[in-house]
Every structure is written in structure tokens, then in C-alpha cells.
Subunit: 421 residues, 2 copies
């Protein structure tokens, strides 16, 4: 392992992060399980990319079969991207009927921002203040984890993300008003500076912000302010999408709003680098007229085959239903743990996307949360932390997660809590 | 076919381009061959992505095997990215020993620009005026095919690319001086405007500019001017790289200069979406300190396996040698065609990257070139056009191209010329 870490630091740079104090040297995956090079087995409660399970045989078969038959770019005509596009867009409101396929959620968001700029003629963008939308130069401007070199550009404005534990506490009506007021102010400032507003971009689950519990309609007033000023709404569904939240295929459906542009990524190909932007036909047309865009790998036959297999497994194995059922079961187990563990301030989530927020002595328990992540890894359960104070255990397993897996998770969490508290 | 084109226009937008007046509806690929849905066979003389041949069985096997075993991100430790990184960097000068893996050449160039900015503290970038470096917002600023919405940003400056057929004609010494003077002026302007110079980025084969014939050392004075001003040199090896040019693995070796940052893309995974930046350890370290960069799919085990298989096939099957041998054979055949076809003004290239430039009545024969592309497609040979005036037939086949394939290409080109002239 030391040798691997040394090679890694030289080849991949000294700041290439690893998860856990003792990184996991992975060798094999299957379903919800990972094995390390020593043969040790881990319950994966965190990786959303293998959405239909690590090494899902139907996805592997689809990739292998198509890779052996044909893989080339979309300047040739091929049916698979069309079949997939029709299947995918059937899961959206009728007017979201067009798509542009790319290789990563970062590329998808990079395109989405330009679509909004082309469509509105404005450049201003509003995002939330504790988020992540990807790694290109343009979308890095929206990331709050590190200020970009040269600072934030003046056309980008951040508004405070909703936060259940903030001074406004659990009063969601006041939270929604505060959020809308912040958006209204940002719109006014972008208009005053001459940028105007092209889009409000947000994850409709606020996944990186610690996914506060929000009622349907929470965003309505903020969205209205953006629309009234001529801006569009971009829903970054990279994390909540494809049925993970159990109640719906998409996070924006759960919150009850209709985005103009939706971006998709990580789980779309179960690990194969494929991502997409789904939008209205008029927006895609406008973008294509304003920019000359082509993506060599985006939507190639193998990428389309991988995405189609993921789509079909979600449908055939009713993984949205599984996320709803096992998610609720898991939440109940975690609330039982909470009932005798004071350090758990909140248990929340939807479907197979859950958080366990830790506070101690009236403050976010950030260090304790980091210890929990490592203690659970040592006990064979993989998860990580999230949120403004990094004090929430983030649970986001492959959507084939079972009740038995949930039992193991809750048991190990309780054991680890007994060690760290 | 009509139905497929209609579905395509609705789903993928009306301006999603296709090659050829009658698009090819592709079904299957193998080696240098593509088949359409009617079973018609085409000799592929254009697609550089399937570098080791369409559906190369070793690459397919590597992808299928690894996809069935494990595919997850690089915050876990895995050996394959390290094995590949060591193999790949062995093909570069000693100080280019570190790499960052991404999903596309666009992502690679987007990162490379930020590496140069982090390393130099400057923002100014110089590119050539008839090029393409990818599709993200940032690198779109370097593309000359279409002015970005909102115009070019002031930190980006374009210099005229070398052009054998320009007024300076074949006098390469004067061309090199003119190119260097343009770069020196661009540096001076970026310094005067306060941006300073972070990098000169170029394709060391000037692939999109029509790949003018350039001698070793051609760029030395221009590169010296950039370095003297504190800037770095980025070689975009997406097109010439991985041995296509026959004489060397990389275009910059052929031109005899040492870049600070190299970007790789299309052929790297034979169609699997994988790309990379290769650079010095100090530059990667500086970038990682300035930015918080992570790429979910970049360098995952399947991407590393695909890239490793491509690397091994190039080595084991001596495809660099094949590119040199068959490339020279093809050039000679094309020059024989030229000897009795006045419309061919120039035949040039290196390895399996060749151009046939068409002029008529003292002017670039742009329309005739477009007719040639379609006539050859009708005769079962796929290629395309390139260059400032789109009057050069671009030949860039999979590197398993054989002498027999070259015979067919030359025959069909001669037939098509007899039709269009």
C-alpha cells in the first residue's frame, strides 16, 4: 500500500485526495459491495455512480457487446442515441424533449450555462453558496469550496443555500422567504451591473449543502423572481436524479417546479463516462445557433448503450420503488439509533439519499463526524461527510441497497458512535 | 433513414451536423472498416479515435473484463491508473512525469490553461487563428470557427497559423520569422494590457490549420519569446499524438521542442471517453494547490484499462512503425495521382496523417473539395476536408491502415477526381 501511495503522489500529484485516514486499496466490486486487495469486504453506503450496483452484469454486457460492434461519434447516424434519448425524455415533462450528450456532469453544466446565456442574451448566473457543479473553468466559478484563482467573476453571484439548522431553524416558511429575498437581491444586482440574469442553477436536493428538508413549493417565489427578470432555471440533477430519492425520478419533481434545463451525470452510465443536458427544443436550437458545439465521445454508441442499460435496469428492477422502500426503512432504523444517541441532532433524507447530522455542546460536531467516517470504514462500512460544517454523515448507496444492508449500516453506526462519543 | 434523421433533428436539435450529403447510418466497425445498416462497407480513412482499429478485440476485452471487476473513482487507491501512468510517461521527456486523467480532450485543455495560469500567475493565452482545442466555455475562447457569444475575452490573443500556401509560400525561414514576430507582438500586447502571458497553446502538427509542412526548429524563436516573458508551452497532442505521425510518438518531438504541458484525448482509449494532461511534477503540484480539482470518471479503472490496452497494442503491433511505412507508401501513391491531376496543388503529411490540397484557377478549390468528399463517400471511402479554405482532403485513418488500403484509397481518389474535374 505504501508503494502504491508513493507512486500515486509522484504520478498524480501530492494533493490528489484519498478518502479515509487509511485509504481503501480497491480490487473488486459487486452490487453494494467493494473488496480491497487483502480480500476485505466493505458495504458501500456512499457511491452514487454505480447506481444500479457495482459491475451490474446487464450494464457490463451492454458495454462489452456494443464496444465489440461499433463505437464512433455522432456525425454518423446511429440508432442507439435516438432510442436512449426517447426513453430518457419520456421521464420528463413534455416540453423537455431534446438532449445533448456529453462525457461528464461538468461538461453538462458548462453547456447548460451557455444555453441560458444564448437564450436570454444575458450573462449573469446565480448559484448557492455551498455547492459544487463541476470542474471546468466556467463551472468552477460556481464552486464555493475554494475561491478560483483571480477571484469570482462579476457575473456570478452566490446566495446562501437553505439550511435547516441555521438561525431560522425549522421554520420553512421563513426560510423560503429568506431564500427568495436573497435571490431577488442577486437578480437586482446583476441587472444593475449590466449582466442581467441568464439562470439560477441549483441542485434540487441541495445535495452538497447537506440536503435540508424542504417542502414542495419551497423554491416557487425565488424561481418566480428569476423568471420575471427573464432568467431560466437550471436543475443540476447529477446527484438526486434517476430515481434515487424514491418518490420521483427527479429532484425537481419532488420540489414541484419545472426547470428549463436539466443536467445529468454520475449515475447515468453506472461509471461509464456519460452525461447529458435535457432541455426544450427551442433552447437547444438557440444554443446550436449561438455556438458551434460538438462532443467527440458524447452519445457515442457505447455511451448510449451503457446509459440505456442503466435506464432499463432502473425500470425492470423497480429501483425507484426500492429506493423509496429501503430508504424509509433505513430512515426509521437511523431514528432508532438517534433515540439513544444525543449526538445525532437530525436524521433526514428521501429515498436512498440520507443524512445523519451530528452536533455536540450546541455546535456542529465536525471533528467527531470525521472520526465517525473513519471508524465506520474500519468496521467495513463506507460513507462520507457533507454540509456547511462537514458534520453530516452522507448516505448515498447504490440503489440496489437492501433492508439487510440497512440493518448492517445502522448496527455499525451505533457501534462506531459508542467509540467516538 | 429519413425517420432516423427526423428523430435526430427533434431529439438532438436541428443543427446537429452530420458528415456527407447523404449521412452514413452506421451499424458495425472492424479495423479500418465501417458498415452501414444496409450492409455496405466503407474504408475509413478519417477516424483517428479508433486509433488501433475499430472494435480492436484487445481493447474491447480489456474494457469488458475491467467493467465486470471494478469501476470506481480515484479517491480510492487502484493500481491500474498507476501502471498506465508509468507506461505513458515513459514515452515523454524525463521531466514530464506526472499526469491528470480526465474524460475528454476538452477537459484536458481546460485544465492545461489553468495549470499555466496557476504556475505563472498570469492569465494571457496565445493560440493560433484557425484552430480548435475543444468545447468547454474556456477553451471555446481559442476556437476560431465561430466567435464566442459575447466575443473573445481580452486575455486571449490569436496569431496567424503557419500556412505553406500563404503569400510567403514555401519559404519556411520567412514563415518561421513571421510566426515568431506575431507571437512576440501578442506577448507584448498581453503584457501591456496587464494580463501577462501564461501560455502559448498549439497543436504541434497544426492539424486543424491544414498541417503545413514545417521543419524541426520552426517554432524555436516563437517559443523562446514566450519563455522569456515567463510563459509556458502547451502542446495539444490530441490529433498528432500516440505515434500517428510515424516518426515519433508525439508531434512536439518531430518539431523538436519541449513543452511544459501536453494534452491528450481522442485516440487514447480508442473511443472510450478518456483523456489526460501530462506535465511536470511542480506544475501539477502548483495547480492542485491553486484549484481544488477532482474528476469523477477521470482515470477510473475501466478508463485506465482501455487506455492501457491501446498503449500495449501500439507497442506490440508496432503501429508507430506501421504509420511510418504505410504513410510513406500512401504519400507516394498520392503523388502519383498528383502527377496527372493538376487540381492537386500539394500532397503532404507525416505517417498516417496526410493532406491533399486542391486548387483551381489559382485559388483554393473549396467547393470542389466538398464534392470530392461526397464522391468518395459514394465510392466507399470515408474522409473529410480541413484547412483555412476547407480545400484540403484530410486523411487520418486508424493506424492499422495497410498498403492494400492505401491502394484502394488512391484508386478511388483518382476515380472521384475524374468525376469532379
Amino acid at each position: 500500500m505504501r508503494t502504491a501511495l508513493e507512486r500515486r503522489a509522484r504520478l498524480l500529484g501530492p494533493h490528489m485526495t484519498t478518502f479515509y485516514d487509511t485509504p481503501v486499496h480497491v480490487a473488486r466490486g459487486e452490487g453494494v459491495w467493494l473488496w480491497d486487495t487483502d480480500g476485505r469486504k466493505y458495504l458501500d453506503c456512499y457511491n452514487n455512480v454505480p447506481h444500479v450496483g457495482h459491475c451490474n452484469p446487464r450494464v457490463v454486457e451492454a458495454i462489452a457487446t456494443q464496444a465489440a460492434q461499433l463505437n464512433t461519434h455522432t456525425r454518423y447516424v446511429h440508432d442507439l442515441i435516438l432510442d436512449y434519448g426517447e426513453a430518457l425524455t419520456s421521464k420528463f415533462d413534455h416540453d423537455l424533449e431534446s438532449l445533448l450528450m456529453v462525457c461528464s456532469g461538468s461538461e453538462a453544466n458548462d453547456v447548460a450555462l451557455r444555453m441560458a446565456q444564448a437564450m436570454t442574451g444575458n450573462t449573469g448566473i446565480i448559484g448557492t453558496d455551498d455547492t459544487y457543479h463541476g470542474n471546468t473553468s466556467a463551472v468552477s466559478q460556481l464552486n464555493s469550496s475554494k475561491t478560483p484563482v483571480g477571484g469570482y467573476l462579476p457575473h456570478v453571484r452566490q446566495v446562501p443555500a437553505p439550511d435547516n439548522m441555521a438561525p431560522l431553524g425549522g421554520d420553512r416558511t421563513k426560510q423560503a422567504e429568506a431564500f427568495a429575498q436573497d435571490v431577488e437581491q442577486a437578480v437586482a444586482k446583476l441587472q444593475a451591473s449590466g449582466h442581467g440574469i441568464s439562470a439560477l442553477i441549483l441542485c434540487p436536493y441541495f445535495a452538497n449543502e447537506g440536503f435540508p428538508t424542504l417542502e414542495r413549493g419551497f423554491l416557487d417565489r425565488a424561481i418566480g423572481a428569476v423568471r420575471n427578470a427573464g432568467g431560466l432555471i437550471i436543475a443540476d440533477e447529477v446527484q438526486p436524479g434517476f430515481g434515487r430519492i424514491g418518490s420521483h425520478w427527479w429532484g425537481h419533481e419532488r420540489l414541484g417546479f419545472a426547470p428549463d434545463i436539466v443536467t445529468l451525470g454520475k449515475p447515468m452510465g453506472n461509471g461509464h463516462p456519460v452525461a447529458a443536458v435535457v432541455t426544450r427544443h427551442d433552447i437547444l436550437t438557440c444554443f446550436q445557433e449561438a455556438f458551434r458545439y460538438f462532443n467527440t465521445f458524447g452519445g457515442n454508441p457505447v455511451s448510449a448503450a451503457a446509459a440505456m442499460a442503466v435506464f432499463q435496469v432502473i425500470e425492470d428492477d423497480n429501483l425507484v420503488g426500492n429506493a423509496a422502500d429501503v430508504g424509509e426503512y433505513t430512515l426509521n432504523l437511523l431514528r432508532q439509533v438517534q433515540s439513544h444517541r444525543d449526538v445525532i441532532a437530525d436524521v433526514r433524507g428521501a429515498g436512498l439519499f440520507m443524512g445523519v447530522e451530528l452536533w455536540r455542546d450546541g455546535a456542529p460536531a465536525t471533528a467527531l463526524c470525521a472520526r465517525m467516517v473513519n471508524e465506520m470504514r474500519e468496521r467495513g462500512v463506507l460513507l462520507h461527510s457533507v454540509g456547511r460544517h462537514d458534520n453530516t454523515l452522507k448516505l448515498r448507496p447504490p440503489c440496489v441497497f437492501s433492508r439487510e444492508n440497512a440493518d448492517q449500516l445502522a448496527d455499525v453506526m451505533d457501534q462506531a458512535l459508542s467509540v467516538v462519543t
